[in-house]
């Protein structure tokens, strides 16, 4: 069989994102985490006589995502029934979009400039959750009816790393749009993967959670395909073992007997409504980073890292408009992001505000305080809001650069650390660092480190 493909591996993704609406897609049950089988009603349990009513917020969110991915929006939103029997599917059909997806012809561009085409973006309801526990299978219908957005790509990715990058970029966009809460919402992907050696026989891997897992699962699967016979099949991903396993063979294409959902009308989509939604889409991370690099000459890596999170990006922009952007970018990346990372916190969980940080960075730029004092104040600003300038004054933390004052201290330190002095004289450079550290300690970190270094060097010469 002839293929249009030429690359070693072909990868296409179907990504499912839970939209963070307050209520479910077709009923008013809450979407927040609750005790199993408590956030349910006749509609999301599929009781006889119940009818779906579309949550317009979900339609808005899915439209927003479609637009952010550069999709064309369909003139009408149409829902269909996809029929298959499964215990977690209350009606034994899923309400989804089939013939006309909400969004189509979108795109995500990878860093190397490769285009990953997005075939469709559509809305659908999540089934309940099956929980396998001590030999039994339990069902939690709280998840039944949660709005999902499905994003289907063309098979444009050629390595697990590209799939990972795609997912990461998608997650970033979702975060920017505020449609996805990393703490409570779940992102899952089904990956289609085939390799040249096996004549591109297609295997689908279901239910891979998160972008790191995508790379792991695909790396494993490609290796497996190289070593084993490949059949057209659907496989599962065991994240614990790091292996894929056969779920079912695909001898024929599944037939879901789609019909139009007759309980829902066609929803006309007003171009003015689309324009209004478009207006709420913020400048996305990549565009922002590129602008910082060109306008403010910020290091490209710093820019990308800061732009990755919309809250951090907004904070940085506010600061950078007031004071030296390059200086600010270094401090935001090296100190603020490090701190968030170490403490596994979101920016909004801290007390950081532009106002105090601008004041602090000014003190640093004007050499009123040392870096060490700056770092210490940042740690405290994470916990409470206060004026760094007042604090420095109050605590007597102004940088000491006066040579006479520092010389006295240096001499004392030399007196007290004879062994280190001897080691330094014997050629051990790090002993000088130790001595500088002792001076800093003595001055509670206020001594200007470069002045101290020069003084010590000359005193010990």
């Amino acid at each position: 069989m002839a293929h249009k493909f030429t690359t070693d591996a072909i990868i296409g993704l179907e990504v499912h994102v839970q939209l963070n609406t307050k209520t479910k897609l077709f009923c008013s049950c809450p979407t927040n985490v609750a005790e199993p089988n408590t956030a349910i009603c006749p509609t999301c349990l599929g009781h006889p006589g119940s009818k779906p009513v579309l949550n317009s917020k979900a339609l808005e969110f899915a439209t927003k995502l479609s637009l952010a991915l550069g999709c064309t929006i369909a003139p009408t939103a149409v829902f269909s029934r996809k029929t298959y029997f499964y215990p977690d599917l209350v009606k034994n059909y899923q309400i989804t979009q089939y013939e006309v997806p909400l969004g189509s012809h979108g795109i995500i561009i990878l860093d190397i400039g490769k285009l990953i085409r997005i075939e469709r973006v559509h809305l659908e309801e999540d089934p309940g959750a099956l929980i396998h526990e001590s030999g039994a299978t339990l069902i939690d219908y709280n998840r039944s009816g949660i709005p999902l957005c499905e994003i289907v790509t063309h098979p444009d990715m050629h390595s697990p790393a590209e799939a990972r990058e795609f997912m990461k970029k998608l997650l970033n966009i979702l975060g920017y749009l505020g449609l996805f809460d990393q703490n409570t919402c779940v992102i899952k992907a089904d990956a289609n993967v085939s390799i040249r050696e096996k004549n591109y026989e297609r295997v689908e891997i279901k239910n891979i959670t998160g972008f790191k897992e995508i790379e792991r699962a695909l790396t494993y699967e490609i290796e497996r395909q190289k070593q084993q016979d490949v059949r057209r099949e659907t496989r599962g991903w065991n994240a614990e073992k790091g292996t894929t396993y056969t779920l079912r063979l695909k001898e024929t294409e599944e037939d879901y007997g789609y019909i139009v959902e007759p309980d829902l009308p066609l929803f006309e989509i007003d171009p003015n409504w689309i324009r209004a939604i478009k207006a709420t889409i913020p400048e996305l991370a990549e565009a922002r980073a590129a602008r910082w690099v060109s306008d403010w000459k910020i290091d490209e890596t710093d820019a990308k890292i800061i732009a990755a999170n919309i809250d951090v990006a907004e904070l940085f922009e506010t600061i950078a408009k007031k004071i030296d952007p390059v200086f600010s970018s270094r401090w935001v990346r090296r100190e603020i992001l490090r701190l968030l990372n170490d403490e596994k916190k979101e920016l909004r969980e801290t007390q950081f505000r532009a106002q105090e940080l601008i004041e602090l960075f000014k003190l640093l730029i004007d050499k009123k305080i040392t870096d060490r004092i700056g770092q210490r104040i940042i740690e405290q600003l994470a916990k409470k809001q206060f004026s760094p300038a007042a604090y420095v004054k109050e605590q007597n933390l102004v940088m000491v650069a006066d040579e006479n004052t520092l010389e006295k201290i240096c001499k004392t330190i030399i007196e007290q650390n004879k062994k280190a002095v001897q080691d330094y004289k014997n050629g051990e450079e790090k002993s000088l660092m130790f001595l500088i550290g002792q001076v800093m300690k003595q001055t509670k970190g206020t001594a200007a480190p470069n002045v101290v270094k020069e003084l010590l060097k000359s005193l010990l010469a």
Binding site: H47, G49, I259, D263, P265
Partner: protein, 469 residues
């Protein structure tokens, strides 16, 4: 009816005593004719209303009136099965909007009335496994018609003030109304909320009313009409209330479709209908011959294709897992589902699941399901054009009078479906129609069907009243 409501409100009638007697009578009727599948707690409700009457707080357009609901309408806490064994024991958690609206107007819900399982039939002989078939109130050897057979039979037999909530997908109100000799009013699709209706074919299902006369059927329809947030396909209605519609016929243009009173029609039915038409003409109506070729030729096939496609998805949810009939739960799940479904669905339900699944499968979808959807649009257009020329269309409701059970046994499924030829097209187009009694043939009632454009219920009612129903 209005006098009864007034007397109930003012306490001139002892409502509890009245209700006791009515139930007693209904029980007697039921024993003989099998119209009822489950009883609501009418006495408690009557006591509650009686208290209101005593304290002068009685309100509502249906105060004290006993209303029965077709078994496919959810009544909170009362077994609701759409006359299917697969829903045995199911007690809904909420009232259908149409039921709730009656309650809000002071009605007493009496009982659930028997039907063809999920509405699958025109003779009420396809009741679910273990559920008895209702008998015609005029001749127990004959069918009530269907699928709202119990509703029509009870409406005919009840001697107490009673109104029936019924439902039509392809003719299930007009057909039994015709066979039982009562008034059956099927509204425009979307006029009445379907919330709480157990679906047969969602794009076709319409909740309507049955009564002994046009005025009472109109009264009940007024009450249950209107937009409902729980049903996205429901619509707000405008215009005057239907119950006040006056009789009017002079100068009205009545459309006649020649083939509907031509060959294949029972002679007695033809005679009754042509006599009725003659009477309307005498009163000033103008008869205009119409041709509806698409509806006449493709209506039945289109109806059954769409209805079965939707029905086969609607019935998927009944699998013995969450409500209704169940069995010893065991893996694998698909074998369990098959076991429960095999044991609890009747023959006709199974037939429609198979046919409806076939018509929407890949490879057949375009030829059947999608084609049928296109023809439906054509039929809607054809009616719209016809209503440019005429005000209403009149046909017989059914081509025959109620057949005997023996006669029905001889029909194959296709001949059985052909009986719906006159009712399916208005149902497909979602346009309102009313069946009223117009004489008899061999002692059995004949139904006259008056059809109007979308949301023109008042037009068909004014003609029905002019006829004297």
């Amino acid at each position: 009816m209005q006098k009864f409501i007034q007397d109930a409100k003012t306490g001139n009638i002892d409502l509890v005593d009245h209700t006791h007697k009515a139930i007693e009578q209904a029980e007697k009727i039921n024993k003989e004719y099998r119209y009822i599948t489950a009883w609501a707690d009418a006495i408690s409700r009557a006591e509650e209303l009686q208290k209101l009457a005593k304290t002068g707080k009685a309100t509502g357009k249906l105060f004290g009136v006993l209303v029965s609901a077709k078994d496919n309408l959810c009544v909170k806490g009362v077994e609701t099965t759409a006359s299917s064994a697969i829903l045995k024991g199911y007690k809904p958690l909420f009232n259908a909007t149409s039921v709730q609206k009656c309650i809000d107007e002071g009605a007493i819900i009496l009982a659930k009335t028997v039907q063809d399982e999920f509405g699958f039939g025109g003779f009420s002989i396809n009741t679910g496994i273990g559920i008895e078939k209702p008998l015609n109130p005029h001749d127990k050897k004959r069918t009530c018609g269907g699928s709202s057979g119990g509703a029509a039979g009870l409406t005919q037999k009840a001697n107490f003030p009673h109104l029936a909530l019924a439902e039509s997908t392809g003719g299930s109100i007009a057909d039994p109304a015709s066979f039982c000799g009562i008034t059956g009013l099927t509204p425009t699709y979307g006029r009445v909320s379907r919330y709480g209706l157990i679906d047969y074919a969602n794009s076709l299902d319409k909740i309507g009313t049955m009564a002994k006369n046009v005025e009472d059927a109109a009264l009940l329809l007024d009450i249950i009409s209107g937009k409902d947030d729980h049903d996205s396909t429901s619509q707000e209605t405008h215009g005057p209330t239907l119950v006040d519609t006056a009789s009017a016929i002079h100068g009205l243009r009545i459309g006649i479709i020649p083939e509907t009173i031509g060959e294949g029609l029972d002679n007695g039915v033809r005679k009754a209908v042509t006599t009725a038409l003659y009477k309307l003409e005498q009163n000033g109506a103008r008869k205009i011959e119409l041709s509806l070729p698409v509806s006449m030729k493709y209506g039945l096939a289109t109806y059954y294709t769409l209805a079965m496609s939707e029905a086969s998805t609607n019935l998927a949810k009944y699998c013995g897992m969450r409500y209704g009939a169940s069995d010893q739960l065991s893996a694998p799940y698909n074998e369990y589902f098959t076991r429960v479904r095999t044991a609890n669905f009747g023959e006709e339900a199974k037939r429609r699941i198979l046919l409806g699944t076939f018509t929407r499968m890949a490879g057949y979808r375009d030829a059947f399901y999608k084609k049928a959807a296109q023809i439906r649009t054509k039929i809607i257009q054809e009616y719209a054009e016809a209503f440019n020329k005429v005000d209403v269309i009149i046909t017989p409701t059914m081509p025959v009078v109620a057949p005997t059970f023996d006669e029905l046994k001889k029909l194959n499924p296709l001949q059985n479906y052909l009986m719906d030829v006159l009712t399916v097209s208005p149902n497909l187009a979602g346009i309102p129609h009313i069946s009223i009694p117009c004489g008899t043939s061999n002692g059995m009632p004949v139904g006259l069907m008056i059809t109007g454009p979308h949301f023109a219920e008042h037009k068909i009612i004014q003609v029905a009243k002019a006829y004297g129903a």
